[in-house]
């Protein structure tokens, strides 16, 4: 027979103490044992909490906090990056717009400058032309005057030689006037 059956067979058929009493007797659940076990368990659980799970949990909490802080930091960095990308894109767009505006302004400025220079050139050319015309007119007038004078002198000289007479200044002046009036301007 197996020992367990021997034990059960060996339990004395004492008078029943009720269900709780029978259980207490079979399993030796008496106050001294139970109270001792309670105290022992309380001490064990206190020691385990203080020296076993306390440090480990503190370490895990610390790590969890560090991970949470890291994630928070990562989110902040991602946000900053997104903001930075957005601001960079905005700056690029603004710079592009500005560049286009500058190019348009430069084009306009260049056109105006070209126009101004053209007008200036035209004005200068006209001025040169007017000056040239004036100079030409003056030269023509001068040459005409010299020609008239020379013609008068020649007429007077010719007249003097033909007539054999020395002409006076009045005669010369009169002959010149007549000759010139016939030659015309």
């Amino acid at each position: 027979m197996l020992p367990i059956f021997e034990i059960l067979a060996a339990v004395p058929p004492a008078e029943s103490e009720g269900v709780v009493g029978d259980i207490s007797r079979s399993f030796k659940v008496y106050w001294p044992q139970l109270v001792s076990q309670f105290i022992s368990f309380a001490i064990v659980i206190f020691l385990l909490k203080k020296f076993a799970f306390g440090p480990i949990q503190a370490m895990l909490d610390q790590r969890r906090e560090r991970i949470a802080a890291g994630e928070e930091k990562l989110k902040r960095i991602e946000k900053q990056l997104a903001d930075s990308e957005a601001s960079t894109a905005a700056a690029i767009a603004k710079a592009n717009e500005e560049a286009l505006r500058l190019i348009a302004e430069a084009k306009q400025g260049a056109a105006a400058f070209a126009e101004q220079k053209t007008q200036e050139a035209i004005a200068q050319a006209q001025q040169i032309l007017s000056k040239a015309e004036a100079a030409g007119n003056a030269d023509r007038e001068r040459i005409s005057t010299e020609l008239k004078r020379e013609f008068g002198r020649l007429v007077a000289a010719t007249t003097s030689q033909v007539t054999g007479k020395v002409l006076t200044a009045d005669d010369q002046h009169r002959i010149n006037e007549e000759a010139l009036s016939k030659v015309g301007n």
């Binding site: 034990i7 022992s40 480990i56």
Partner: protein
């Protein structure tokens, strides 16, 4: 080298166990046995086992946290894996807020039960002890082992269950308030108005009485379930050893048929630790579940 030392230690333990057993190991009693008395307090062999397990767990925890590194490795990694896994598992049951307050208890219960169950399987437990002699010695109990499986003592499992019951009341009242606690048990769940409210109050009042009976029986069920499973496992191992350990062949090879049962007991030790922790955490979650409580309040 480390494996060699481990194997050598194991065989030395077996040898010590064998020598101890030779003295007169009689049977596995239903209860733990008294080793000594400190004043009115009794020190039993199961209690000594629990102290050894607690010392072992503390030692491991101290070694693991002695030189902590940011990137864990070795023992620190293993301990962190176990504790973090437990924490996440319990967080899934209890919720983030409740697990912070109660993790220490459930983790202690789980680790303590698990290692106490497994330590109870080591050679020497229940076999190394003293032979009692003298006229007053019961002939059915002539051997007093120094160690016994911690949970193969109903006093130990009752102590754990009753401690949980006390803490359960404390946590439940703290989470719900005293009024909320009673409303949680007795108040109708759901929205009832008008005439239907009266029968609902009666029905839920009766359900509440049943709930109270269930709450009172929880420590009994918890303690007997754990004790029964662990004691049954140890009895099986002992009886198989005795059954096959007789005769010339049995003396040398009687340990072979027990091996599958050792693996079974390793599994049972884990399952029982898990069951105890799961049940206690679920009991706590049920009373602290504010979703049901709110419905109950609205029902009023």
């Amino acid at each position: 080298m480390r494996s060699l030392a481990t194997i050598l230690s194991f065989w030395l333990l077996c040898l010590a166990s064998a020598f101890g057993a030779e003295g007169g190991h009689d049977h596995l009693p239903l209860h733990a046995e008294e080793l000594m008395k400190i004043g009115p307090l009794v020190v039993t062999n199961s209690m000594v086992m629990v102290w050894i397990v607690a010392a072992f767990v503390i030692l491991i925890a101290q070694l693991a946290t002695r030189n902590m590194k940011l990137i864990p490795s070795g023992l620190q990694n293993g301990v962190e894996w176990l504790i973090e896994g437990l924490y996440n598992f319990l967080e899934g049951i209890l919720g983030a807020a409740l697990v912070k307050k109660t993790f220490w208890f459930f983790a202690t219960i789980f680790i303590l039960i698990l290692f106490t169950n497994w330590f109870g399987l080591l050679p020497g437990v229940g076999t190394v002890g003293i032979k009692l002699e003298g006229s007053g010695v019961d002939q059915h109990d002539i051997f007093r082992p120094f160690l016994r499986g911690g949970n193969a003592d109903l006093n130990m499992t009752v102590a754990m269950s009753v401690t949980f019951a006390v803490l359960w009341f404390y946590w439940a009242i703290r989470e719900n308030s005293l009024k909320g606690f009673f409303a949680h048990i007795f108040a109708p769940k759901g929205k009832f108005v008008g005439f239907i409210l009266v029968p609902m109050i009666l029905v839920f009042g009766f359900v509440g009485v049943l709930e109270v009976i269930s709450i009172l029986f929880r420590p009994v069920a918890l303690s007997f379930r754990l004790y029964g499973n662990v004691y049954a496992g140890e009895s099986i191992l002992e009886n198989i050893m005795l059954l096959f350990g007789t005769g010339n062949l049995g003396e040398w090879f009687g340990w072979i048929p027990v091996i599958p049962f050792y693996f079974l007991e390793l599994l049972v030790g884990l399952i029982q630790a898990l069951v105890f922790m799961l049940l206690t955490s679920v009991f706590l979650k049920l009373i602290c579940d504010h979703g049901d409580h709110d419905h109950g309040d609205h029902g009023h």
